[in-house]
Symmetry: C2
Subunit: 555 residues, 2 copies
Amino acid sequence: MPANALTSWMALPTAHGYIPGTPFFGATAMIHARSPALGLLFSGACLLAAAPGAQATDPRPERSFATSETFEASEIAAYTGDHAEVHARIDADLDAHVAHLQRWLRQRSISAQDDGIADMAQLLADDLRELGFQEVAQVATPGHPGVLGYYDAGAQRTLVVYMMYDVQPIEPNWRIDDPFAGELVEHELGTVLMARGATNQKGPQRAFLNAVDAIVKTHGTLPVNLYVVAEGEEELGSPNFGAVIEPWLGRLREADGAFFPMNIQNPAGDATLNLGVKGIIYFELEARGGDWGGPATAEVHGSLKALVDSPALRLVQAIASLTTPDGNTILIPGYYEAVQAPSLAEQRLINALAREPNDRQMQQALGVSRWIDGLEGREALVRNLYDPTLNINGLWSGYTGEGVKTILPHVATAKMDSRLPPGLEPEDAFRLLREHLDANGFQEIVIRPMSGYPAASTGVDEPLVQAAISVFNKYGVTLRVAPWLAGSAPFYQFTRTLGLPFVFGGLGHGSGAHAPDEYMLLHPAEGVAAAALADIEKSYVDMLYALAALAAPAD
Amino acid sequence: MPANALTSWMALPTAHGYIPGTPFFGATAMIHARSPALGLLFSGACLLAAAPGAQATDPRPERSFATSETFEASEIAAYTGDHAEVHARIDADLDAHVAHLQRWLRQRSISAQDDGIADMAQLLADDLRELGFQEVAQVATPGHPGVLGYYDAGAQRTLVVYMMYDVQPIEPNWRIDDPFAGELVEHELGTVLMARGATNQKGPQRAFLNAVDAIVKTHGTLPVNLYVVAEGEEELGSPNFGAVIEPWLGRLREADGAFFPMNIQNPAGDATLNLGVKGIIYFELEARGGDWGGPATAEVHGSLKALVDSPALRLVQAIASLTTPDGNTILIPGYYEAVQAPSLAEQRLINALAREPNDRQMQQALGVSRWIDGLEGREALVRNLYDPTLNINGLWSGYTGEGVKTILPHVATAKMDSRLPPGLEPEDAFRLLREHLDANGFQEIVIRPMSGYPAASTGVDEPLVQAAISVFNKYGVTLRVAPWLAGSAPFYQFTRTLGLPFVFGGLGHGSGAHAPDEYMLLHPAEGVAAAALADIEKSYVDMLYALAALAAPAD
């Protein structure tokens, strides 16, 4: 039902919807927003030839595939564990479970505006204690506090559950009066909970805790030990998440995996499970008059250009030196070489994704007439996953008002980012950029780093991933599995800092993250295949038991 | 007294002083502002070698000089006509003459805000009738009205006097309460008339009419026939000046020259007489997603750069293709070739200007540590006069606020201008720019022309120029003469549309055009050599008689 998938896509962030206000990368928004549509992207005709529009001097390394085999998610055995008692408890308590979601959504927690943050942190900590977490602590950080919880079940397996308790600011044009009223709304897809944070991320997180509650109430304890590591600054780019996990770093590293509850189904019930994210460097490039030339303190009259260096032209030249004239191939030496080549396992994932051509649909949804170099199908998938990017997010200098003003501005600035596939480290990216600028005579161009972190990816063969897929299969979800997203999130904190396999996903459908009318679907209408709240919670129960049933760790 | 010259410079437009509000090129401001300091610029060690930093592939044509002779303004005989009776009348009526200036300055006439425009046009027309102009007419235009006047003296010679009756808007930080009070203020340089329009341009214009008044009152008529052609939109870029002169076009073309009264002395009494201006094209370059690629209707998420063309990067690449990496040499084929080579007469002017090295002083005043390519002296003069420029006035795309936002913007725009020395026509400049962009694959980049007009220059050997210099010499003014300014003004209307020699200048000192505390010096303090109002008016009297005394026209 691709029309529905597109509806879901279209309901999502429009031009200014991603990051209203001051927030950061909107990692969760991008995952939420893009998951159904990125699913469409991970498909297309299977082409092996080089891109038709590729540069003669294309610095991209050869990316020929050694296998034409495909990864088949459906071939992983569906989870068969029987937890009927717990499931029945969920059905019995469903009204109370919905009320828990509403209670969370009614508590404001806008991180960018420090609105309700302290109360939400307290609410989360209280809920963990209520659920039986023996250790619960708030962690002070230079920003908003973190919340740590540990449920010691005396089990062999331990899972770290990541949570974000903050939400985006409110933008205009909601169809409900109060995005913090936690209202149930009749929607074309069924009964939805419409509220800021409904799907990003309180809804699925509290649904997960409802599952925990049902298990504990049924069996008195959990099948796995559970850490909750929660931050209140995800929407600000997780600047202090390192400080949040620092107190329990040694303990967390002993866990078997990390999990982030997330609604990843589209209305048709399909889902794309992304096993990682790209990294990013975000920075400003600035040219300013100084010893090298140009006006140092203020703009001068534009007619002086015959004698005076132009910082704006220098910035333009510096940026232009970074790419081919089409803006699509990065000319920084070493930039592509650092990227890891597709592993055999990744090749199988991509071969599977490439079977359904959907480039045109993605392009339509984005308002884009073509991909760069006329790419499509598997080629587009490979570029999207393995190409580092170089992008101008913003650019400004001098007079930008109406009409004519004749000045030679003394400063020019660009906000740029580069997405980093696994292998290309942020510190290397910054270093290669600086070296390139210096080697090309742009010593005066300042690089002002604003953020940077590496990619994160978890192998599809990891037991935690296999367990997750087995649960999806139990619920009949048609699952695409991608090695990672083209977007970025600081998930390296799990894969690298904690050294754990990391899964972000789960049954359920929601939309509108970072946009008006955010919702999570609770009771699907006839013909809508995405899971109902009860099934979402039951799948989380199954996930925990599936993890508990994993073969013993190597040690 | 270079310190004073710099003081005069420094008192002038600062960063945002040129064009507050909506106005246009600020041609008069630039002339006012730059005259004393540009005088400093037109000097320097006499170097013939190529610029040290010049590109190996420098497309500039050879500009070797065929003469080392210098033009000596002081060798032109001082004007010797005796008009003692008229001069005495000026002395006797001086209080009334000051009152006329004050009356003009008290009448608001801010063109950008349509504030007092109609009243000022009426006041000017009434004054011309009062002075005895037999024909006076207001000319309706799509903008503010023009005023035409003709004084038929039955003389052999005819002079066209250009006037602008509009002024700039008021900016904050004036030291007087009301910039339209027409106040006399005690200033370190002497008694000044401080008001918006005092030097730009009402003061010198009404001083000129005071001179006319004195002649008519003394002798009953003028030594030359006089046209006044006045517009109320100079500060808006003279968009309708063609319509203003259109009704009398045939008649005006029969005149012997055109004149624009202007205070061009610095406090030390020195002056630079510029015999022309560069032309200009001003335009926006824009890249916008469309059929060629990129997002067509709205920004998309920045992580999509791996697949989606970036209009911002394309704009950057297109602009970068226009210049060498240093931003200082234009790579548009044919752009330099169209420029006229320095004539022998111009070479003599430049040789004279190059005798006093003042690059450092100019650089200090501008806050610039060096000229491009390390230029100095005559080389800098030649580049400044004969190089077309390419300049970014403004540049914008995407997110330009605080912090981080990850978008791929769908549109990017630059405001650019190119100054055109004589020979390079605006329509050719636009054509060459388009051809260059097309030839380099930038067909999708839109050029949005906003203004364009050619250079204007009058030869130093023209009798009108020689007459003007003879009058400067009579008053002991040390005069630098430059072929033209690096700045732009639509003076082609005189040199090309009317086909007349054109002189803009005159005794007198003022400062602060387009800036707070604009003034015209009326009564210089002890040791300040710039002319007093009485001498300014007497020099205008002498100018008119000097013109009348010119040898009969060739026909």
